[in-house]
């Protein structure tokens, strides 16, 4: 309970810090952000209306508390460009990002678990060396290059998959899967490479543990030792890494979303940066950071529940 409270307190403090950074974003813009967003042609009325709607005509402390209050109640202001509420723009984009992140993590798990376990079981042998080099290569891959190569091979070349576009999973699951394949393989391959190393080292650590030696000395068959005593225990710490990778995919796939025209949060941030639509940038950055913190919180609490040593340390 103490651990849970301490962890919740820590998250609350970091959340406050995140809100301050996101609030400061618009304040740090050199010049007048409304003027920058409107470009060169605008009327005084539209300028005044946008400035008043964004609250930038208020004193700084009033702006800050109104930003925090708004964020807590789901009001993140209005877009400088479309005039739409930022919250509804974010909610429109969220399903695309969520569906890509989950498809990506599935790909990552499919890659990481068999390869990591195999490398650990063949520790020091050529298979292990190959897996380690491949995972190192995966970590070094630029995601947007990977996406381009997949488009080159699977779309432009073999004509198997569409090169861009998005179909909601609720509209047509088959078409969604065809469209999500290239971005999901891209992000999944890179996340899978990172996770492979953790699975490998975690399995190696458990292989050397006393309880595994005991299980073997009892005469249990190797398959049972591996399945019941090694892999199950080894996968617990991997939850943490999987959580971080999921959180990263929710916010960090900007370039992949741009390459394949995936209308998620990353693409939204990119467009908003180009259009200097500061409220949208603020809203999206805040949402992504909050999701990142919450996933980390859930993963840490889950991990502490499974492994009591974390709570006691």
């Amino acid at each position: 309970m103490v651990y849970v409270l301490r962890r919740l307190g820590h998250t609350a403090v970091v959340l406050l810090g995140v809100s301050i950074v996101v609030f400061a974003l618009i304040q740090l813009v050199p010049g007048d952000p409304v003027r920058l967003a409107l470009g060169t042609r605008f009327s005084q009325e539209s300028y005044d209306a946008l400035r008043a709607a964004s609250g930038l005509d208020q004193p700084l402390p009033v702006q800050f508390f109104s930003f925090i209050g708004g964020a807590l109640t789901g009001d993140l202001g209005v877009s400088f460009r479309s005039g739409q509420p930022v919250t509804s723009i974010l909610l429109d984009r969220l399903p695309a990002t969520l569906s890509l992140a989950f498809a990506g993590i599935v790909v990552a798990v499919i890659i990481a678990f068999p390869l990591g376990i195999l490398a650990a079981l063949r520790n020091g042998k050529p298979t292990d060396a190959v897996v380690r080099v491949v995972s190192q290569a995966g970590v070094s891959l630029p995601d947007f290059w990977m996406a381009l190569l997949l488009i080159l091979g699977l779309s432009a070349g073999a004509q198997l998959l569409p090169s861009s576009g998005y179909v909601p999973i609720t509209d047509d699951p088959v078409e969604w899967a065809r469209h999500v394949a290239i971005p999901a393989i891209t992000v999944g391959l890179i996340a899978g490479s990172i996770m492979t190393r953790y699975v490998r080292s975690s399995v190696l650590e458990v292989l050397g543990a006393d309880h595994v030696r005991t299980a073997r000395s009892k005469g249990l068959r190797e398959r049972i030792v591996l399945g019941r005593h090694v892999v199950r225990n080894a996968l617990v710490p991997v939850i943490t890494v999987g959580g971080v990778q999921l959180a990263t995919m929710l916010g960090g796939v900007v370039v992949v979303e741009v390459v394949v025209g995936w209308p998620g949060l990353g693409r939204l941030v990119f467009d908003a940066v180009n259009q200097r639509d500061y409220p949208v940038i603020q809203g999206a950055v805040l949402l992504i950071a909050v999701m990142f913190l919450l996933i980390n919180l859930i993963v840490d609490l889950l991990y502490a529940r499974i492994d009591p040593r974390i709570r006691l340390s």
């Binding site: 740090l28 813009v29 290569a137 960090g252 900007v254 940066v273 950055v285």
Partner: protein, 298 residues
């Protein structure tokens, strides 16, 4: 990195820095490290002496030679404006190395100063600095960089500052973790007892003894800085055309995927090979200088 993974880093005691000779021996003994070092030498050479090596000027437009496949005259083919892709790949190394070296230097100086002071001083200064680092870690790297670009506007200088800022927290965390364990060593306590000033102790006794994990982190950060620079340039927010950059070349290749595969393959390969070489050298440095940090700072 979550708090649990961070705990692994915190728990790792720093190994004393071995001599450079030991590092060189390790690189020479391992074929993978030797090849990586050779790759990095080629990239540095391209960055320094690019115009002398490149067969054609970077912006020599010749529409009559547009979209030609690789040949004896153009090893990597030509782009949509007839520019030689090999020459542009070679010349783009300068931007990539410049941005990554400057940004990692910014991150190193700011992050290490913050981490050393926080770790040595302890108390509220440490708590405040580490909470600030936690806040920075809540933002995905590219998103934070994009936010900084949104404030300062796109360009080369902005890319350096943005990437420098996003990699500052990792240096602060690594420096602080190592400082915490060195702080209570007898030689540091002795220096304190003899009345040495805190800044003098940090510079003379703490910094040299926390150097090993920082050197490893520098190599790994250079790799990721190159990736980030390429990503920003790809999005049109880094170096501006017509200056060649690997990321921008890949962006231009997008429109010609079904006609000119070479436009997408070679610049990407340059990024990939350079990043892989930095990562593999980083791994070798860790094995030699900081074996206790294995897997912790991935």
């Amino acid at each position: 990195m979550t708090s649990h993974a961070a705990a692994i880093v915190d728990a790792a005691p720093p190994a004393p820095v071995s001599g450079w000779r030991q590092v060189l021996d390790a690189i020479v003994r391992r074929p993978v490290a030797l090849v990586s070092a050779a790759v990095l030498l080629v990239v540095v050479l391209a960055a320094v002496a690019g115009p002398l090596i490149a067969p054609y000027p970077a912006n020599a437009v010749d529409l009559s030679r547009a979209l030609q496949p690789p040949s004896g005259a153009h090893w990597f083919g030509t782009d949509e404006l007839g520019r030689d892709v090999l020459s542009r790949v070679v010349l783009a190394a300068r931007v990539s190395m410049l941005v990554s070296v400057v940004s990692v230097t910014i991150a190193f100086v700011v992050g290490v100063t913050l981490g050393l002071v926080a770790g040595y001083a302890g108390g509220w200064a440490d708590t405040l600095a580490m909470r600030a680092v936690d806040v920075m870690f809540a933002f995905p790297v590219l998103l934070l960089a994009l936010s900084i670009v949104a404030i300062l506007g796109p360009g080369l200088t902005t890319a350096m500052i943005a990437i420098g800022v996003v990699y500052t927290p990792i240096f602060a965390r690594v420096a602080r973790a190592s400082t915490l364990s060195v702080r209570e060593e007898s030689y540091v306590r002795a220096a304190r007892g003899m009345g040495a000033r805190p800044l003098g102790i940090i510079a003379r006794h703490v910094l040299p003894n926390v150097a090993a994990p920082l050197i490893v982190q520098t190599s790994l950060s250079l790799a990721f800085a190159i990736l980030s620079e390429a990503a920003l340039s790809f999005l049109g927010l880094g170096v501006q055309p017509p200056e060649p950059s690997w990321g921008r070349m890949l962006f231009d290749a997008r429109g010609y995927l079904d006609q000119a595969w070479w436009m997408a393959v070679f610049p990407g390969l340059a990024v990939f090979v350079t990043v892989l070489a930095f990562n593999l050298i980083g791994d070798t440095l860790r094995d030699v200088l900081d074996p206790s940090g294995r897997e912790a700072r991935r």
